[in-house]
């Protein structure tokens, strides 16, 4: 490790590793710092991705695929379920291996990686622009200078705050999540299950994602507004006791998912935010692996371009590029999330009933969404309102 780089990336999750990879490929000298001892561990994730999403960055490899899924099932509060038609497949990942592979791709492009390196502050010039980071590397204080800082430090991001960006997630938008990996259970290995309703996860959903034979990630997220009344862990314990009373619990993890619009600013004072730190999460699904990697790729590429052209004002291009490709879409999804989160159990049941009446070839996610709209004309107004606003 040197004391001077073009770009320092804080955080070695999928977004950080992808940023480091594309920044290094663009010719910049890159250092990626990870606060934990291991890249990829602990895992705080349901671990499901689509094939199309992930293949943009890495060829699927059995060593980081726990299950290949071809269906997902939406389960209404009354227990009835609908299986929308899907084109394509998805994967439930082994994130601890997947993240490792992504970090290796960054390293292969020339990025340096240092773990157990906790960034505790930014170095700034007299105008407030970041010119480096201050870190505890293996418990020793080190100052590292750089031209650009890419903050991929996750939901707990503080780097952005130090650069003057408000990254605080409103409690209405923060999903407080708990997950257990359980084993010794019977389940279909190629189906993602999503449970809805006030009993399992008010305003959110509970997931059961198969993770290899007889094993699954079972977790749920609910907005902090709801978690105030009853925390995520209690919903999860109740569900597992009821549904999988004999399961062995292999891990349990907590986590937060910022199901918000992208932060109002994602570039400031030579700092770029990528991934969860920038709130680059699909607000409806809470999925953030692929969107974080897309943000990371854009951030890395643009940071490298700015270094190559010696023009740091080019960094603002990142914000434009992000909003053009995904940011606008997340804004729309956010409005949809707001509408869905307000559905009562009764509405969810009736949507499921109507979806089941659809001919199978029309039973797609879009089809179900349309049914939901026509089934409840008042909802059509709500959705129209969210699209117009």
């Amino acid at each position: 490790m040197r004391q001077d780089y073009d770009i320092v990336v804080v955080g070695a999750g999928p977004a950080g590793s992808t940023a480091a990879r594309y920044a290094a490929a663009g010719g910049a000298s890159v250092l990626m710092l990870e606060k934990d001892r291991d890249v990829g561990y602990p895992v705080r994730c349901g671990e499901a991705v689509s094939h199309e999403g992930v293949v943009q960055f890495i060829q699927p490899d059995p060593k980081w695929i726990a299950s290949t899924v071809t269906k997902f099932r939406l389960i209404a509060p009354n227990g009835k379920s609908v299986v929308p038609r899907l084109d394509g497949v998805g994967y439930v990942l082994e994130r601890r291996i997947f993240d490792y592979e992504l970090a290796k791709l960054a390293a292969n492009e020339g990025a340096e990686v240092v773990t157990k390196a906790y960034v505790y502050d930014l170095l700034k010039d007299d105008k407030g622009a970041a010119v480096g980071v201050r870190a505890l590397v293996k418990d020793e204080k080190v100052d590292i200078r750089c031209r650009v800082v890419i903050a991929a430090d996750g939901v707990e991001s503080r780097v952005g705050k130090w650069a003057g960006i408000d990254t605080t997630c409103h409690i209405r938008d923060m999903e407080s999540c708990a997950q257990m990996t359980i084993s010794g259970i019977d389940l279909e290995n190629d189906v993602l299950d999503f449970y809805f309703g006030d009993d399992v996860s008010p305003g959110g959903y509970l997931w059961v994602f198969p993770k290899g034979k007889n094993t699954a990630n079972v977790g749920l997220g609910l907005s902090v507004e709801e978690a105030k009344k009853k925390p995520a862990i209690r919903f999860l314990q109740e569900f597992i006791e009821k549904k999988f009373p004999r399961a062995a619990i292999l891990t349990h993890i907590a986590g937060g998912v910022p199901c918000a619009k992208t932060c109002a600013k994602i570039v400031e004072n030579n700092v770029l935010l990528v991934g969860d730190a920038a709130h680059q999460v699909n607000p409806v699904s809470g999925g953030g692996i692929v969107s974080g990697m897309i943000g990371g790729m854009m951030g890395g590429e643009i940071a490298a371009e700015a270094i190559a052209s010696k023009d740091l004002s080019h960094l603002t291009e990142y914000e434009k590029r992000w909003h053009k490709r995904l940011g606008w879409r997340h804004d729309v999804f956010y409005n949809i999330k707001e509408a869905i989160a307000g559905f009562s159990d009764e509405t969810l049941n009736s949507i499921c009933d109507s979806a089941l009446k659809l001919p199978e070839e029309k039973r797609t996610l879009g089809g179900i969404f349309r049914v939901a709209l026509w089934n409840r004309p008042s909802m059509l107004l709500e959705v129209a309102r969210v699209f117009v606003s």
């Binding site: 934990d36 906790y118 991001s157 605080t168 409103h170 407080s176 925390p231």
Partner: protein
């Protein structure tokens, strides 16, 4: 300036270091390392967002050693206090 009271408390050993609390803290008052978490007392305003956000009920209000708790707060239970703070 010292606060009249500080009531947020992290139960050691139960924390999973997930960062959910840091993400909702409007004051940048929580420091989170690999397996070390601390509330920066000078910045904490007792807003309790971290308490609600914690998926595992690790962070809690505690009254131990708090002598000058405002009367209107001590009269309420935690739940009511939660809804009274916006």
């Amino acid at each position: 300036m010292p606060k009249p009271y500080l009531m947020i408390h992290i139960r050691p050993g139960k924390c999973d270091y997930c960062g959910c609390c840091v993400g909702v803290c409007p004051e940048d008052a929580i420091e989170l390392q690999e397996s070390k978490i601390a509330i920066i007392e000078e910045r904490c305003t007792n807003c309790r967002k971290c308490v609600w956000a914690c998926p595992w009920e690790v962070i809690e209000f505690h009254r131990e050693g708090v002598t000058n708790l405002p009367r209107e707060i001590s009269a309420l239970d935690n739940m009511q206090f939660a809804s009274s703070v916006k």
